[in-house]
């Protein structure tokens, strides 16, 4: 039993961190929000080269096999650095396609997703009603009444997180190359895709919270009032200690859910992780805002991008209440 990242997994996380630290992600996110997507797409290709998407694609389709622990490691850094783009959606689509089995549709898209030459998005109403970044996606899917269909993007909907470009969708035709677009196999694939999105989102939230704690601690050490750093005041200390406690107990849940992914416990484990991650990241955001004061409430201050992202992701991929309900029903039945 070794319930910590092994050396290779740790190195992967550090590599991601290094890559993203040098990428100027706040500017990339602001460009993305403004509809200038080229820097974000370049970053997408870099992350593909680092192997991120291959982690969700079977080896037979050019991937590395499904590696949930490595995926949550990557998504933690994607969250920490506020990288814009439909990352969770793309890995969820990869799982969906892989679970559909062989056929022209998976064969067409999985290798391209793995290498980063295709971007995917999806809507899974009611929990995921909008397709994120559908305008840059090469393939957009939805499951409508149990039937897999192409999703036709409609109007863009403004999000609190300006880097989340949400699109209303309508269900279109069954995509070409799907032998059986409905039935038990599609239902199982949809459920697994949803759980992957939930898991990725939970990992991302944990990363968002972690970065907000880091920047807020730094700020509290340097910002001076009453002749001393505000971090000397217990009121500030206790707020930040509470944020750390929340995050420290989110990480094991995310790792536990990654290890349980694909097992019968998977829905319960990913829901537990998402409910806890939502709370921990949101607390981190509220405290970050409070400790920064007015500067944190400005559009131009970079951490405010993450403050907004925490709240947006809080309800993305299923509300905390829906995940709590899933945990209780899996334990108590009903």
């Amino acid at each position: 039993m070794k319930f910590v990242l092994d050396a290779e997994q740790k190195l992967f996380g550090e590599t991601m961190d290094k890559l993203l630290s040098g990428a100027g992600t706040p500017a990339v996110a602001r460009d993305w929000a403004a509809g200038t997507q080229e820097p974000g797409l370049a970053l997408w290709r870099s992350l593909a080269d680092a192997g991120v998407f291959a982690l969700a694609v079977p080896e037979s389709a050019g991937g590395a096999g499904l590696l949930p622990v490595e995926l949550v490691t990557a998504f933690g850094e994607i969250g920490r650095h506020g990288v814009p783009g439909p990352y969770a959606e793309t890995v969820a689509v990869a799982v969906l396609l892989a679970r559909l089995g062989s056929g022209p549709l998976p064969a067409a898209w999985l290798p391209r997703i793995a290498e980063g030459s295709a971007i995917a998005s999806l809507a899974l109403p009611p929990a995921v009603p909008y397709a994120l970044d559908a305008d840059v996606a090469d393939v957009v899917l939805t499951v409508d009444g149990g039937t897999l269909r192409s999703a036709i993007p409609g109007a863009i909907r403004a999000s609190l997180d300006p880097a989340r470009r949400l699109f209303s969708v309508t269900a279109g035709d069954v995509p070409a190359g799907v032998a059986a677009p409905a039935g038990a196999r599609v239902a199982a694939a949809t459920a697994e895709a949803y759980d992957m999105g939930v898991l990725a989102c939970a990992a991302q939230l944990a990363g968002v919270g972690r970065r907000l704690l880091e920047v807020t601690v730094d700020y509290a050490k340097t910002r001076r009032q009453f002749g001393r750093p505000i971090g000397e005041f217990q009121a500030i200390k206790h707020h930040l200690a509470n944020v750390l406690v929340g995050l420290e107990y989110t990480r094991p849940l995310v790792h536990g859910a990654a290890l349980a992914y694909g097992s019968p416990d998977s829905p319960r484990e990913v829901s537990a992780a998402k409910a806890a991650a939502s709370d921990a990241a949101y607390l981190a955001a509220r405290i970050a805002l409070q400790v920064h004061g007015a500067i944190g409430y400005t559009d131009e201050y970079d951490p405010s991008l993450l403050i907004r992202k925490a709240r947006a992701l809080y309800s993305a991929w299923g509300s905390p209440a829906s995940h709590r309900a899933r945990v209780v029903s899996s334990l108590a039945g009903g």
Binding site: L213, I236, H238, Y249, A275, A276, V327, A332
Partner: protein, 384 residues
Amino acid sequence: MDLDLSPAEPFRAEVREWLRAHVPATPLPSLETGKGFAAHRAWERELHAVRLSVVSWPEEYGGRNATPLEWLVFEEEYYAAGAPGRVSQNGINLLAPTLFQHGTPEQLARVLPPMASGEVIWAQAWSEPGAGSDLASLRASATRADGGWLLNGQKTWSSRAAFADWGFGLFRSDPEAERHRGLSYLMFPLNAEGITRRPIGRIDGKPAFAELFFDDVFVPDRDVIGRPGDGWRVAMSTAGNERGLTLRSPGRFMAAASRLVELWRTHGDPADTALRDRVADAWIKAHAYRLKGFETISRTAGVGAESSVNKVFWSELDVALHETALDLLGPDGELAGEWLEGYVFSLAGPIYAGTNEIQRNVIAERILGLPRALNSAHGPGRRP
């Protein structure tokens, strides 16, 4: 990364089997009463007879050399079986780790075996009327005497001291030294000449703790742990034990959370989604605490200040979990019973072993690196 518990499964099976055959069918009387204390002491003897009272200790002292994983598994089975609370916990979880780290071979050989068997039950004596969170301001004294020390002064909130046999605590052995300096860590029999103990009723009236008055109580040199004057360091080096995993193992909260889910199944109103969310939260947090335990034992580095994160988390989880149970019971929530006993016990959690405010100071200063303010102390604390 993995969560392969299989190396501990044979041990789990043995423990489960034994507990199934031996856990009393009806709960023992509360260990905070004279009758209950005796019943819990007898239970400790039973555990010890099959070497299940201190599984992680070396065999020579009554243990089994269990790995940390086996210990976590033992605790899971122990609490899942509804086995009695551990009346020996102050000794086993706080004094013993201190002895393993600082005790002499003579002390280990003399103190540990009767602790393991429940023959000697230990009470802690940290706090004083004027030294609670600010433990370093303690004033009870140890004065040099021929072959030992004379103790004078007063200790209070001394958990288990109403019925226990021996006590341990910090005393000021150098009256010139200030705060953390000049303290000594001493052990003393509670029936020693010169000790007066006055039980104190806990919030529910049970004598869960006591105050102790020392009037020239002689303690021989062999009952000093570590060097005289070095008591603060000795106490602090194992303070993490009482805030961390060893005092409040994940198995305890996991078992309570499972019982809470069962209570929801039998008593819950499916339409009451607010209460359902709290049941979910209690389980999720207990589960997180369990997984964090596996993470902790997987690390090679010591826990240090991280135990403060632990303490804040489990103590608040414990209160929230029991509040949820009482709410599920509705008007019956105020009636005496196991949930109420657990609730009353949980209320002390955020206070003992260093209040959660002190723990938050530790987290902020030692983990997050925020600047230290004047007078922000953090003592080793105490537990009930």
